[in-house]
């Protein structure tokens, strides 16, 4: 588990107040753009966390910047590396022309990243494998409506498409390329009853797997 930040070496993540950033609340697209610009300027410092996120309650604002490392590989490096991947994937989601609602999705993911970090600084924010799986799903299906996104206790991505409380399609994106899904929908022959289906499928065949249940009709545009 990456949460055990003391497991290797003596390098600890350095969270500190930036002092130079206004406390602006939830990340907005401009924040992501700022990050992107600083990122491409040379990657000496990553300033992904230089802007406060969702915390509007006068708590400390956290900045993270790290210099290129010359030390042997440590747990901190591993965490940093995975966080870099998370950052890159979120930027990919934002900028990919094939991902529908990329801007909204990216902003929401950044918010969730901060929410998870606020709960426990030592964790990854979002599990990179889960995020990659989510990204792949949206690359495969370019006309999806924007889902409601949350994180599981283990910081995997959970996406739900809900229509008038009667139809639900929810997907848990696991780090290994699998998804777990659930479908709740009305039983047309017995309106007082509900059809409930759940299962597991790899991301690439998920939509094929659930197609017989008419899911596409209510999650695509």
């Amino acid at each position: 588990m990456l949460g055990a930040s003391t497991a290797y070496g003596d390098n600890f993540i350095d969270y500190h107040s930036p002092g130079r950033q206004p406390h602006s609340g939830v990340w907005n697209p401009r924040d992501i753009q700022n990050y992107w610009e600083s990122y491409v300027r040379g990657r000496k410092y990553l300033t992904f966390l230089s802007t406060p996120a969702v915390n509007t309650e006068n708590s400390e604002v956290y900045t993270r910047g790290w210099l290129e490392k010359k030390d042997p590989f440590t747990q901190t490096d591993l965490l940093a590396n995975e966080e870099e991947q998370v950052q890159e994937l979120i930027l990919e989601i934002r900028t990919s022309p094939s991902i529908c609602h990329g801007e909204i999705l990216a902003t929401r993911l950044v918010t969730l990243f901060y929410d998870a970090k606020e709960e426990d600084f030592a964790n990854l924010g979002i599990v990179v494998g889960s995020l990659r799986n989510f990204y792949n799903f949206f690359q495969l299906h370019t006309d999806l409506k924007c889902p409601t996104i949350s994180l599981t206790p283990d910081n995997n991505i959970y996406a739900s498409w809900r229509v008038d409380q009667k139809k639900v399609f929810s997907v848990l994106f696991l780090p290994n390329g699998d998804t777990r899904f659930v479908i709740f929908k009305p039983n047309d022959l017995h309106p007082e009853r509900q059809i409930r289906i759940s299962g597991t499928a790899t991301t690439d065949i998920l939509m094929h797997t659930v197609a017989p249940y008419g899911v596409w009709d209510w999650i695509s545009e």
């Binding site: 708590s59 929401r108 929410d115 606020e118 709960e119 996104i149 949350s150 283990d154 409930r196």
Partner: protein
């Protein structure tokens, strides 16, 4: 006492952190259990012996503020009826899952309890069913 089942007519509360909330609505992920944990943490409201639901929530907010380093301003408390949760999941889960809701007191949190018999391989259908039984929500901090 530890391990006592909570009566069906009683109520439990679940602390829902912001990562489980979207547009101020609690999501099913709030009712999934962390890998390696046996149960979903809740609090037994009637155990607090407060005179009203509002007082129970106020007491719970005090407990959270002492127990956790931080309770986020966007965190919420979901209140559930024990019998309704158990009946819903028993009747509508594919394997007719019989959830147990047991008192599991902690030193700094005597009303702490757990929902047991959740599993990781089919967690989301159970979580979605539990979500449908949420009837009341409150802020998790004053």
């Amino acid at each position: 006492m530890k391990g006592d089942p909570i009566p069906d007519q009683h109520h439990i509360a679940r602390l829902c952190r912001p990562k489980y909330i979207s547009d101020e609505k609690i999501q099913a992920s709030a009712f999934m259990v962390r890998v390696g944990k046996e149960s979903l943490s809740v609090n037994w409201l009637e155990f607090l012996k407060s005179s009203s639901r509002e007082n129970e929530i106020a007491e719970l907010q005090n407990i959270y503020s002492k127990k956790f380093n931080k309770v986020e301003v966007r965190a919420q408390i979901a209140v559930l009826n024990v019998g309704e949760v158990r009946e819903k999941v028993l009747a509508e889960s594919p394997d007719r899952r019989n959830l147990k809701v047991l008192h599991n007191p902690e030193i700094n949190d005597p009303s702490h309890s757990g929902i047991y018999n959740l599993r990781h391989d089919d967690e989301i259908i159970i979580a979605e069913l539990i979500l449908e039984t949420v009837r009341e929500t409150y802020p998790a901090r004053k």
